[in-house]
Symmetry: C2
Subunit: 160 residues, 2 copies
DNA sequence: TATTGTTATACTCTATAACTATA
DNA sequence: TATAGTTATAGAGTATAACAATA
């Protein structure tokens, strides 16, 4: 998310009791509810996977965009990740202290700062991406490959 | 998500500039990112829609389950909505003060409390549901009816 | 005058532990 | 001894306003 923040899910994603009974309610038929639940459990899983690298989803997201080659400004990151500009500041501060990214003033508009990865940052992103991919695979284990593709296509159309 | 909390999106969901450039990055191809973004914007829209009734998505979700006929306990609500039991307490407190729901001790286990709607609560839920449906329609405006159905089916399979 | 990034601050949401009443 | 709900509290995330530098 922006991955928007991250809600909380237990270690094993327990699929607890009451859930079966409530799965047939009207609420469980609301797309926004389902999207939120998937995002919730998905982000929680990704956060668990990223913990061994000392990263959270929000840092991973910023690092990924820094490594994208698009040379995003902080303002663009804020818009794309649906996070407040002030939040972007602190996320980048942490990545920068860690030596994963650096800020460069945009020559075309010296008010803006472009986020660029360091070599270490690129390497870190490579590791993190693999961990996230594994976590995502687990989260979508119920779906066939074709279903995953279709879900991806529809999510992309709806969310972007 | 539960409606998990709600991130922030601006009034008109502006589809701002940088988003086009970043839409082709690796991050934008991660399902968890897309799900989070959809949940984020969807919940924000639902919150805006519900504001005129003095409700937020979390209250709406609890009210919906109270009205479902399944007589959920607070523990079940906590599990289904992926919210801490203590959060359920305060959400129900607010709905109860408003006269929309009431707590009834479960006769089969007097430790548990079953959440039941009042007549006013049912009526409130009816209004709220219509507002949410309109907001959801707006959020998924990019999708055809068939695509919405398919997205719903896949989200349900993956999230529940 | 408007915008980018920054700082400080307040607010909301989330997580934890301790308590009670039941089991 | 264990579980449901409650309370209090601390922590993380989010939103707001004001400021410096640049446009």
């Amino acid at each position: 998310m922006t991955p928007r923040t991250t809600p909380s899910v237990d270690e094993e994603t327990p699929r607890v009791d009451g859930i079966e009974r409530l799965a047939h309610t009207d609420l469980a038929a609301e797309p926004f509810f389902l999207a939120a639940r998937l995002a919730s459990t998905g982000s929680a899983g990704a956060n668990r996977a990223l913990a061994e690298l000392g990263l959270k989803v929000r840092h991973y997201s910023v690092l990924a965009l820094a490594c994208s080659g698009e040379e995003p400004t902080q303002r663009e990151l804020s818009q794309f990740l649906v996070l407040d500009p002030s939040q972007i500041v602190s996320i980048i501060d942490e990545l920068e202290q860690r030596g994963a990214v650096e800020r460069r003033t945009d020559p075309r508009d010296r008010r803006s700062k472009i986020l660029a990865p360091t070599a270490a940052g690129r390497s870190l992103y490579g590791e993190a991406k693999a961990l996230v991919a594994r976590s995502t695979g687990d989260s979508l284990a119920e779906l066939s490959a074709a279903e995953r593709d279709e879900l991806f296509r529809l999510l992309r159309k709806a969310a972007l």
